[in-house]
Amino acid sequence: MKKQYFLQVVQALRVSEEIVLYGHRLEIPPKETEAVISFLENEYQKEILDYPYKVPRFDKEAALWAAKIIYIAAQLILYRKDEAADLVRLLPDYISTPSPSSIVSVDLCLRFLPQMILQLKLIDVEDPLIDVLEKKLSIWHYSGIRYDLNVEELDYTIINSNACLEQLYLNRIVHFKNKMLANLPIFKDKINANLGLYKKEFWSELEDLKN
């Protein structure tokens, strides 16, 4: 049987949180996408056990798109034969705008993007790929909370529209101790409510939130 490289990369990423590459293979056989989707859906079912409120349903297309982005971006970090102009073609934007279920589904793979960008920055700070990937993160910024995005410019309307997603977002802000996000007016009160009386114990550096 032919090796399923795309599936193996996604599995390694999800299970042991590492990227294993098998050479320069930008083409993805359509057969494999089915396997990847069912694997990701399985992962999603495991993950939603830990999600509060009513969990958004799994968005196949979005999850697959994110897996492809990670797969291709990882290869571009290592083997670069393409011109800067080709990057946008190789890493297309997602066809529709983010919704609660696509944000959570995309996050299955896209949550590893911040670390990849940091790796890329270590290799070459002026790589045009950084810009392309950062743009993706600022659209899907739930996956980019650990990354230093320009928080003033992001769109939070969808985040606030869904209780589950909002709580996940707040959890992640607290987990990564992203002060910039925590101090935004739309999150400030909610972070305060989350931490309650125990702000000092959970997040002692967060003095700005006193009032």
Partner: protein, 244 residues
Amino acid sequence: MAEDITNDLNYYLEIEESRRVDLGTIRAWQNLKVATAKGKLWLTGFDREQINAVEVKSIPYKTLYKVQKGKLYLLDSLLPDRNIPNLLWTPIERALPVELPSLNHNYFGVEEQMKMDIVPSENESEAIAMLTNIQSLKQYIKTAPKVRLNPLKWVVLNGEDILIVGKPILPIQGITYWRYNNFLLPTGFDFDLYSLKQNLEKRLNPNPTHWIIWNEDNNYFDIEKNKLKPLSLSSFRQTTEKIQ
């Protein structure tokens, strides 16, 4: 209104120093003061009731005086007997210290037992554990911020009750506990013989592998510490699914 002159009366008691043992009955009256002079013990500070009490009357070989116009009159006498002695007074508890009987080497009462009771206590201590039930936790955990769950560990006790250990405790209903070593005692309660806690713990839990959880009614149960698992929404959901 004229003052009751009896309130101002002062009384003195004089006794041979060798007979100090006889004063045992009145030693507990803390208003008394004692002084020694020339082989005699002087006591003063009695009030009218005390000087007429059985405890004083039963002291043999004593002399009682009352003070009038700076002179000492024998009680029931109309003639002054002597001047007020000029003495250095000390409180009776200090002047007549309690002595413990010497150790009895022939005493074999080692079978005696002591009962430890749990009683309300004034000492404030921080709650670090909570006994609640699945229903109460379910209400909260569905919408709980993860940061509140992270420091906690939990275990299901009998298919219904839940023990959560860790702080800060969750804002749900339940019985809270404070910690003494590996004891979890209900908040606001402590053992009446609290200094024996350590001995009791050594007896019950020589290797600290268990939590010992005390109820207000002096009963306890124990739970192995490594049975407690980190509390998370997924852990809760998977566990409750198995129970039902």
